[in-house]
């Protein structure tokens, strides 16, 4: 029942929010998000108490709920959490309160609607991570899209209308392909006249031929590739990240991007293993192209937000490559990197937002010398940046190391090329730090203030996690291990 509570509570809170105005609305939203996080932590702790060393995925069956949704069609409201889902839910519930807190400095008009949409989106995101029925998964997949479209489209920058429209079309067209594949698979489940069902286990047990799997693979893959995004499906991403208001950018990059990776792990690899082994190479190459492409374009950016957007594109490419390496180490790397990237990218976008609000510009060439007046900001920025660059002891290092090891196991040359990402990331990120924080002050940065209390309240938890994941990755890897092993068993059957 915890799962159902996690799903429904944000919606209930969002509806309540309509009776609140302005400041009360955001405090209420923050409270609801914190409560949601507390419940998620409680779920994680209670699950880990049940876990013996070498525990199986079945340890999580307590979270499972399965009731008929469209009974006549064999479609069920089947939700549950294994280690992988649990980690994603933890990430979501951890980030949403911080994202809400991060928006406190902005005075968004019609605040109650703004925060209601964020909470509404949280339900969609959690739904995606806990659904164990294909159509339920698709349902939440789209439910997560509608609020973010409105957040970005209503409260975004000048070019918001065209940009969010492109984003909406891209993602919805991608997901319609996925729906088509699900419907096709659904009609294959009627083995032995047991009736049609869209349950995930039934999809896992399908015996499709290699050629059927090949095109099902592509149909589903496109949906996930657009969401992540993987080169060449990424063209919506930099504009949308740049034009959206900061909370929307954080939601998109911190959590929504992970829907694509998570979907690949849960709904693509185990369902069409033959299709994956047949076409995985192509995806690997696309992913590695994305890594290099994102990094090279990031080097040339002057807009901080855009630079972080391209850096995110490069990093997600590496995660995808790790997943498609189909090695244990690569998958585990992807899981831990999803958490690490979520923490780092939200922090980076927040820093960029702080700087823009203080100075009125995000243009790197107009900034400089911030360290003198803002020691706290500099430290926070540097920690998050080094986490993104993947310095040892930080969260990024664990993730990228495992991912690169996985890719290397898959193919030495691809591993070597993907490894360049660390060097390139160091180039563009340190260059940004140098230009923004060091050097002479400019007219924009002369009288800048250091961090305030509420800003620290956002950054400190993020920084704690940078080191926590960096120093004790096993805490997290242990939770996802049985789920990852189960996925690999299904892939290699």
């Amino acid at each position: 029942m915890l799962t159902v509570f996690l799903l429904l509570f944000p919606v209930a809170a969002a509806l309540l929010l309509h009776f609140a105005k302005g400041n009360a609305a955001r405090v209420l939203a923050l409270g609801a998000a914190l409560l949601e996080f507390a419940v998620a932590v409680f779920a994680a702790v209670s699950a880990s108490l049940n876990m013996a060393p070498g525990h199986s995925a079945a340890a999580y069956s307590v979270f499972s709920v399965n009731i008929p949704w469209i009974a006549s069609a064999g479609i069920n409201f089947h939700v549950g959490m294994d280690g992988l889902s649990l980690l994603m839910v933890l990430l979501t519930t951890f980030l949403v309160p911080l994202i809400i807190l991060a928006s406190f400095r902005h005075d968004y008009p019609n605040a109650s609607a703004f925060y209601a949409l964020i909470l509404f989106m949280q339900t969609g995101l959690i739904g995606v991570f806990v659904s164990l029925d294909a159509f339920l998964f698709y349902f939440f997949w789209e439910v997560a899209l509608i609020p973010i479209y409105f957040i970005a489209g209503v409260w975004g920058g000048e070019r918001r209308i065209q940009v969010t429209f492109k984003f909406f079309l891209y993602t919805i067209i991608g997901s319609l392909f996925m729906l088509a594949a699900f419907v096709y698979l659904y009609f294959q489940t009627d083995i032995n006249n047991a009736g049609l069902t869209s349950d995930i286990d039934a999809f896992y047990n399908l015996t499709l031929t290699a050629s059927q799997q090949a095109w099902v693979f592509w149909l589903i893959f496109i949906a996930f590739a657009v969401k992540m995004p993987i080169f060449p499906f990424h063209t919506w991403q930099p504009d949308t990240y740049t034009e959206s208001p900061v909370p929307a950018t954080m939601l998109l990059s911190g959590i929504m991007l992970k829907m694509g990776i998570y979907g690949t792990l849960r709904w693509l690899l185990p369902i069409v293993p033959l299709g994956t082994s047949q076409w995985g190479k192509v995806v690997m190459i696309l992913a590695v192209i994305g890594i290099i492409y994102g990094a090279i374009i990031a080097i040339r950016q002057r807009d901080m937000k855009r630079l972080i957007a391209y850096s995110s594109l490069s990093h997600v490419g590496l995660m995808a490559a790790g997943v498609f390496s189909l090695t244990f180490i690569g998958l585990q790397g992807a899981v831990i990197q999803m958490l690490a990237h979520g923490v780092n990218v939200v922090g980076m976008f927040f820093i960029a937002d702080i700087i823009q609000r203080r100075t009125g510009t995000r243009d790197i060439s107009e900034l400089g010398g911030l360290t003198r007046n803002t020691p706290l900001l500099s430290v926070c920025f540097l920690v998050l940046l080094l986490g993104t660059v993947a310095l040892p002891l930080t969260n990024g290092f664990v993730g990228e190391f495992l991912l690169l090891a996985g890719v290397y196991q898959y193919n030495m040359w691809l591993g070597a090329v993907a490894g360049i990402t660390i060097i390139l990331a160091a180039v563009y990120l340190l260059r940004m730090f140098q230009r923004v924080m060091l050097g002479p002050e400019t007219s924009f940065t002369a009288s800048i203030q250091d961090l305030t209390g509420s800003e620290l309240a956002v950054l400190v938890p993020l920084i704690v996690l940078v080191f926590w994941i960096g120093l004790f990755p096993n805490m997290f890897l242990r939770i996802s291990e049985p789920a990852v092993l189960q996925i690999l068993t299904l892939v290699n059957r």
Binding site: Y138, G153, V154, I161, L169, I173, V183
Partner: protein
């Protein structure tokens, strides 16, 4: 049957309310009548199917279910019937009575068992609609719409009648089940060409009524000229009745000849989807966009016919018609309120509506998302069930095409949403639209209904077992 009798009798009584010269009483009276009919109709649900007029009309679950959609649609639409500015020229009593009478025709179309009853039903519905299309007497556009609709419509009726005559000639009967037997009968083999031509002519006639391509040319002009309230009625009730009738005709009468008509209907489906969706993209007026959108939805409904998937098709058609009708009347209701008070029907007229009238903007958004078939709304499951029925029969190519077309539709359904939420209001449209309390309640109900259908489709997804 009670519903037909009630509608006819109360429709006449309703005419006499007109003598009271009190518009206040007319709307509640019409709503009470419709509510009564809705209840009486549902009472027939658990009764065994009953035949009337020497088996020419059968009231069974099929007819009860579709009648329920049509009466409910009218009931929820009628609060938006009155003009914002009264010019004293309206003959409300007559209009309401014509609506009630046209419902009688619609009910006959979903419960006929004999081609003559089908024809009579179509005529009762159509003649009322010709008059209502021209009900804005001083408006040239409305006159044009009525004339166009009447000329084209009577032509289509003639073709339909010719088709019925040929089918009669080929099979020797008007009775649906006997037609099917007549087709199978080897003694009639030499009459096959006559049968096929008859069927084709009937398809043309009905396709015209449900505005399927290539017989759709009247639709945008007539929809645009007709007063918005009656346009909404045309694109919901008339369409629902038309498709329920068409489905029954194909299943009961022409089932044996499905090898002939499936390719024919398939061609109409593809063409309708293409013209409806591509046509809607180019429109600048929301009303014309909705006209093309109604053509495109005819295309989706046709997929249910092509699938010939018994229970799945019937359930799909029912759910789709319901979700489509609810969303469409919501959209037209908002459009009517806005266009009455801002005197314009283009997208820019909706600019900034979210600021001045959050409720209207929200209801319109729900309606648009539902028509576009996006989850959380009934429209998604409507498409889902219909497409599912077709995929089950292996029409993968057709569904891929339909999905591509619904991608196109997202473009034009999002445009009003963008206008309402993301563009600032124009200078002359910053005053809020006046919406009555009761109208607001109905709008909320429509949005709620759409969302409930989208969250709990299981409630109504399996009405025909």
């Amino acid at each position: 049957m009670t519903s037909i009798i009630l509608l006819s009798v109360l429709g006449i009584i309703n005419l006499f309310f007109g003598f009271l010269r009190s518009n206040k009483i007319l709307l509640p009276a019409a709503m009470v009548i419709l509510a009564l009919v809705f209840g009486a109709n549902l009472l027939d649900w658990n009764a065994a199917s009953q035949s009337y007029f020497s088996d020419m009309l059968t009231i069974d679950r099929y007819s009860v279910a579709f009648t329920a959609i049509m009466v409910l649609t009218t009931l929820l639409l009628i609060p938006f019937s009155q003009k914002y500015v009264r010019d004293g020229e309206e003959n409300l009593a007559e209009y309401y009575s014509l609506l009630l009478f046209s419902l009688v025709g619609a009910i006959m179309m979903v419960s006929y068992d004999n081609l003559l009853m089908l024809f009579v039903g179509i005529e009762i519905l159509s003649v009322s609609m010709y008059v209502l299309a021209g009900s804005d007497k001083r408006n040239v556009r409305s006159n044009e719409a009525a004339l166009k609709y009447f000329l084209m419509g009577s032509f289509a009726t003639g073709i339909l009648l010719f088709g019925i005559a040929l089918v009669y000639g080929a099979t020797g009967t008007f009775q649906l089940t006997q037609i099917n037997a007549g087709i199978v009968n080897p003694a009639n083999a030499s009459l096959q060409p006559m049968l096929y031509i008859g069927m084709l002519l009937m398809f043309i006639g009905i396709s015209f009524k449900v505005s399927a391509a290539p017989f759709h040319y009247w639709t945008p002009d007539v929809y645009e000229g007709t007063p918005t309230f009656f346009t909404a009625f045309m694109s919901t009730v008339v369409k629902t009745a038309g498709f329920a009738a068409f489905f029954k005709l194909l299943m009961a009468a022409f089932f044996a000849a499905k090898g002939f008509w499936i390719p024919t209907i398939m061609a109409i489906t593809v063409l309708t989807l293409l013209i409806g969706n591509v046509g809607a993209v180019a429109q600048t007026s929301i009303k014309r966009m909705l006209a093309y959108s109604s053509i495109s939805h005819a295309g989706y409904l046709f997929i249910g016919l092509v699938a010939v998937n018994g229970k799945l098709s019937a359930n799909g058609l029912f759910f789709y018609s319901l979700a489509y009708s609810v969303a469409t009347i919501a959209a037209f209701a908002v459009l009517k309120l806005v266009s009455d008070q801002r005197q314009r029907e283009d997208y820019a007229g909706f600019n900034g509506l979210a600021k001045t009238n959050p409720l209207l903007a929200f209801v319109m958004t729900v309606a648009m998302l539902s028509l576009a078939g996006i989850p959380l709304t009934g429209g998604f499951f409507g498409k889902f069930f219909i497409f599912g029925a077709a995929i089950d029969r292996g029409y993968i190519g057709l569904i891929v095409f339909a999905v591509v077309m619904s991608m196109v539709s997202i473009y034009y359904y999002l445009r009003p949403v963008i206008a309402m939420y993301m563009r600032p209001a124009e200078d002359d449209s910053t005053t809020p639209i006046v919406v009555g309390g009761f109208q607001s309640a109905v709008l909320v109900l429509l949005a709620l209904l759409t969302v409930v259908l989208g969250l709990l489709p299981g409630l109504l997804s399996d009405v025909f077992q």
